[in-house]
Subunit: 329 residues, 2 copies
C-alpha cells in the first residue's frame, strides 16, 4: 500500500497546486476596488450555472473598441500616423496632394486640421494610399511599418503600447468561456495584420471600417484587390450594425472609451439579462494621457454624462490600473 | 512491482480503447472510394505535424456553400419557398404586387418566371417582405415557418433534409481543428436563425447575402431595423469578397455544388500549400435529385467542365453517399 499512498500524496499535491492556481489573481494589473469587483462579479454571475443570470458560453460575446481601449490613441490614432507616413512615401506620385485636403495637412504635419477631419478624414487618406493591392500585400506594409515606427513620447513601438490590464481582461474573459471581438472605427485589415499575435484575437473576430474589394483573375490567378471606395464605417451607430453583420449576436459585454462607442455600449447593455458596459477613462497624464471632453482623438463627452444613468462602469486609469503597458520582455 | 504491472496493463487497455476509438469511421455515411480517400488524405496531410503540408489550427478554415451543398435546394431554394409564403401572407397589404414582377409570379405560383429571376429575384422578394423588423423578429418568423413547412416531394421539414454525410464531414473537420464557415448566396439572417442547432455553425461563422440595417433608438430602446435595401450579394465573385470581409483569411478547403461557388473554389485552391476543393454533384434522382447543367437552381456547368483541370474533387451523390438524409430520430 505504500505505493498507493505515494500516489495519493502525489495526487493531493497536484490538487493543491491546481487549487493554488485557481486562486491566482487573473487580473494582476488591476488595483483592488469597485471597478475590478464589478468585472469579477459580472463574470461570476454569467458563468455560474446556478446563477439567475447564467449565460451559456455560445452567448458570451464581449466586444472591445481598439483605439484608446486596447492601445494608445494619442497624440493621434496609430493608423493616422501610419497613413501620414504612407502619404509622404507616395507623395511624389501625387503632386495634386499639395493643394488638396486632407493630404495637404498630412504633408505639412498640420495636426489640427487633420484631427478635425476625424475618422472620416483618416479613412480618406486610407482609401487614397492603401488601395490597388491585395489584402496580404497591405498587411505586409502595415507590419513592416509597425516593426520600426515609434510613438513620439514613449519612444516605443506601438504594439508595445497596448494596455496590459486590458490584455489580462481579454484573457480572463476567454478563460471564462467568452469570445472576444474587436469592434473598432479603425480599418479592419489594418488591425487584422497584428491583432492575433498582440491580442489573441483572430481575423474573423476583428470588426472594423473597410474599403471595398474587387475579385479578379490576373494571368489565371484569382486575386482580391483593395479599391479606393468606402465600404463601411464602423463607428457610432455603425458599431451595432457592424456587430450584427459580423457576429450576428448582441454582445453581453462591451468596452469602449469614447462617444464613438456610445451606441455599442447602449445596444449591448439594454439587452435582457446580465449585461456589462465599461468606459476606459484616460485620467493618467503621468503614465499615459489624461483627456476626455476636449480631445479630438477619443472624444468622450455624452457617454461620460450618461454612464451613471446607463449603468456603465467608468474606469479610472490612474486609480484602477497598477500598470499601464506590458513590461519590456 | 505487481501493482506497477497492473498499472501498465491498465494503461495499455486505455491505449487500446483510444486506439479503437480513433479507428471508428468518422464518416460512416460515405462509401469507401476515391472521394472519401481524398478527404481523409487531405485532412491527414494538413494535421500531421511532421507533414510538409502541415497547417496550424488557426489557419484551418473550411467554407461550405449551403443550398445544394448542405441541404436540399430542389424543387426550389428553401428560402424562396419561405419568401413565397411571406408574399402570400402579406399580399393583402400590397395590391400592386398582382401586376409587378417577381411578386406576380410568386402569387401565381409561376415557378418558371421566378426561377429565371435567380438569386437576385429571390433577394428582391426578401427585401420587400422581410424588412421593417428587428433581426430577432425576423429569425422568429423564419423558425416559425420552418417548424411547419414541408418539402413537397419528401413531405419532411426542410431541416430534416440536410445531408447526413456533410454533417459528418463538418464534424470530422472540426474534430481535426478546422473552423467551419457557411458561405452562401442565401440570406445571412435566414441561415443564422437555425444554422447553429442544425449544423453546429454559430452566427459569427455564417456568411451570406444581406440587406442593410438601421440603428435607431425607439422610445429610449436601442433597436436594429432591417431595411428594404440590398447590402451585399454573397454569390460568385461575392464569395471570396465576403470571405475576406468576414473571415479575413483564405480558406484551405471549400465545398460547393454550383457555378455560384466557382470563384470561392478557385480562390481557395489556388493558395499556397495543401488545398482542397469539392463539388457535390447531384446524381441521385431516386434518393434526392439529379441535376447540373440544365437546372435553374444549383446550376452547375463551368465548374464541372473545369473541375479536373483545377484539381477539384467531383463527388458523386449516388455512388459516394451511403445515406443522404439523417435517419428520423
Amino acid at each position: 500500500m505504500r505505493f498507493l499512498a505515494r500516489v495519493a500524496i502525489a495526487a493531493g499535491m497536484v490538487f493543491c497546486a491546481s487549487g493554488a492556481l485557481a486562486q491566482t489573481d487573473p487580473l494582476p494589473s488591476w488595483n483592488e476596488g469597485p471597478t475590478k469587483d464589478a468585472i469579477e462579479s459580472f463574470v461570476a454571475r454569467v458563468t455560474t450555472p446556478e446563477s439567475d443570470a447564467y449565460v451559456p458560453p455560445k452567448d458570451r460575446i464581449a466586444t472591445f473598441d481598439n483605439d484608446g481601449t486596447l492601445w494608445i490613441e494619442q497624440p493621434m490614432y496609430v493608423q493616422l500616423a501610419f497613413a501620414l507616413d504612407r502619404v509622404k512615401a507616395l507623395s511624389n506620385e501625387h503632386p495634386e496632394w499639395k493643394e488638396q485636403q486632407p493630404f495637404k495637412a498630412a504633408l505639412e504635419g498640420d495636426m489640427k486640421t487633420l484631427a478635425k477631419s476625424g475618422k472620416k478624414g483618416l479613412l480618406e487618406l486610407i482609401m487614397a494610399t492603401h488601395a490597388g493591392m491585395t489584402p496580404e500585400e497591405f498587411q505586409t506594409i502595415v507590419n513592416d511599418w509597425l516593426a520600426t515606427a515609434e510613438q513620439p513620447r514613449f519612444k516605443k513601438k506601438y504594439t508595445e503600447l497596448v494596455y496590459q490590464p486590458m490584455l489580462e481582461l481579454m484573457e480572463y474573459l476567454r478563460a471564462n468561456g467568452f469570445q472576444t471581438f474587436i469592434v473598432s472605427g479603425g480599418g479592419i485589415e489594418f488591425m487584422r495584420a497584428w491583432a492575433e499575435p498582440i491580442y489573441g484575437i483572430p481575423p474573423a473576430q476583428t470588426v472594423g471600417s473597410s474599403i471595398k474589394t474587387k475579385y479578379e483573375v490576373k494571368d489565371g490567378v484569382p486575386t482580391l484587390i483593395r479599391l479606393p471606395e468606402m465600404n463601411f464605417i464602423d463607428d457610432k451607430d455603425g458599431k451595432p450594425i457592424g456587430i450584427n453583420q459580423h457576429i450576428g449576436q448582441r454582445p453581453i459585454a462591451a468596452f469602449g472609451n469614447s462617444d464613438g462607442d456610445y451606441e455599442m455600449l447602449d445596444w449591448t447593455t439594454s439587452g435582457d439579462g446580465a449585461r456589462f458596459g465599461l468606459i476606459v477613462h484616460h485620467t493618467d497624464a503621468k503614465r499615459e494621457y489624461a483627456y476626455d471632453r476636449n480631445s479630438e482623438f477619443g472624444h468622450l463627452d455624452k457617454a461620460l454624462d450618461d454612464a451613471n444613468e446607463k449603468g456603465w462602469v467608468v474606469m479610472d486609469m490612474k486609480n484602477d490600473w497598477k500598470q499601464v503597458f506590458p513590461e519590456k520582455q
